[in-house]
């Protein structure tokens, strides 16, 4: 196998890091804004962060769908041969879970925004109005219940993402520092394999 094939493609690497940066910003803004919205002093800033969080979340959705398509059409490089079956299984589960979260988190956020009684439009980076999901003429109480329950799912998925992120980073560092394999470096941009 050539050396080039053992790295992720440039597109996969670019999408990985773009989405990684976006996810970290989403987690940080999401954790901050919920409480900040309740405080008089930070209410306006939090309101604006919410709008920004909506645009970035939809960006994650688009990039993740692109990435899923790319992944399905461009196989990832093989895992190091010395990995145990359990490690291979754990890696597989983690990556599948990431795709589910990268797509599921924005979708649940979109549902919350669409069901919100505030009826705020989503102006995608201020460029155009992103549509709300259809609510099929649901009554106000039903919409409120939907907003509440899907909001809780959104929050749960966010905390799941944090847990998965810790696992993912720890595993990548372990591959690099303990196993001394190329699992981390093959996803790093601007690196030439030695």
């Amino acid at each position: 196998m050539s050396q080039v094939a053992e790295r992720y493609t440039a597109v996969a690497i670019a999408l990985h890091w773009l989405i990684a940066l976006a996810i970290i910003l989403q987690l940080a803004s999401g954790l901050w804004m919920v409480d900040a919205l309740q405080e008089q002093a930070t209410q306006m800033l939090a309101f604006q962060v919410y709008q920004w969080h909506k645009s970035l979340g939809l960006t994650v959705l688009i990039l993740s769908l692109l990435r899923l398509f790319w992944r399905l059409t461009h196989p990832a490089p093989a895992l190091p041969p010395d990995m145990t079956p359990f490690e291979r299984f754990a890696a597989k589960v983690t990556h599948v879970a990431f795709y589910l979260l990268m797509i599921g988190l924005p979708l649940t956020g979109w549902v919350v925004v669409s069901a919100s009684k505030l009826g705020l439009p989503t102006l995608y980076w201020g460029l155009f109005e992103w549509p709300h999901l259809p609510m099929f003429g649901m009554a106000a109480e039903a919409k409120a219940a939907l907003e509440e329950s899907v909001g809780q799912v959104h929050e749960f998925l966010a905390y799941s993402t944090i847990a998965l992120l810790v696992l993912h980073v720890a595993a990548a560092l372990k591959h690099h520092l303990v196993n001394h394999d190329d699992v981390l470096s093959r996803m790093l941009p601007f690196l030439r394999r030695s």
Partner: protein, 188 residues
């Protein structure tokens, strides 16, 4: 139905106006000098806006102020705040609900003079499906009428934001609306 009624009302007043001295004179609004603006506070931050599209039909004779007719029609979808998020929200079902109520209107019949060139219009303001009495003062001579009146509206009286923000946690319950209007008698 409302449109038809409005059109008939406007046609009727226009017809009466063209009858000239029989009825009060028609006045034309100087749009460059006139504006209908509103303001409020959202999340602790003041905002301002104005209606870009509105028309005013004014029949007024200083010699017979009791026969005055003032009809102002405002296109609710033309509310412009300079903030796309606010503009979009204002059009929504819980605010102006522009799909169902495309127009707001102010109607006043008869003006009360105070003897020093000032007049009081006791009119009715209809936004959505709520009508509230509103009084506006203006000054008028034979050649010019001017209003610069601010009326502080309670948005809940019109059912605006009743579902999303009934306590005023986000958007102030009081919305001052300022009508700045300059009108001159239409040329015969």
């Amino acid at each position: 139905m409302r449109r038809v009624f409005l059109t008939l009302l406007i046609m009727a007043t226009a017809t009466l106006a063209s009858a000239g001295t029989l009825w009060a004179k028609a006045w034309g609004v100087d749009k460059a000098e006139s504006a209908i603006t509103f303001s409020g506070v959202h999340a602790g931050t003041p905002f301002e806006g104005q209606f870009k599209e509105w028309t005013a039909n004014i029949e007024f004779d200083p010699a017979a102020p009791e026969s005055a007719v003032v009809l102002v029609t405002i296109e609710t979808a033309s509310a412009e705040t300079g903030n796309g998020l606010y503009n979009g929200t204002l059009k929504g079902a819980d605010w102006f609900n522009v799909g169902t109520f495309p127009q707001a209107r102010f109607e006043a019949l008869g003006a009360e003079p105070d003897g020093s060139g000032n007049y009081m219009l006791n009119g009715k303001l209809t936004i959505r499906d709520h009508t509230v009495p509103v009084a506006v003062t203006f000054q008028a001579s034979e050649t010019e009428a001017k209003a610069d009146a601010t009326v502080t509206l309670q948005r809940l009286e019109f059912g605006m934001g009743a579902e999303s923000d009934p306590q005023g946690d986000w958007v102030s319950l009081e919305i001052p609306v300022t009508v700045k209007l300059v009108a001159k008698p239409s040329a015969k």
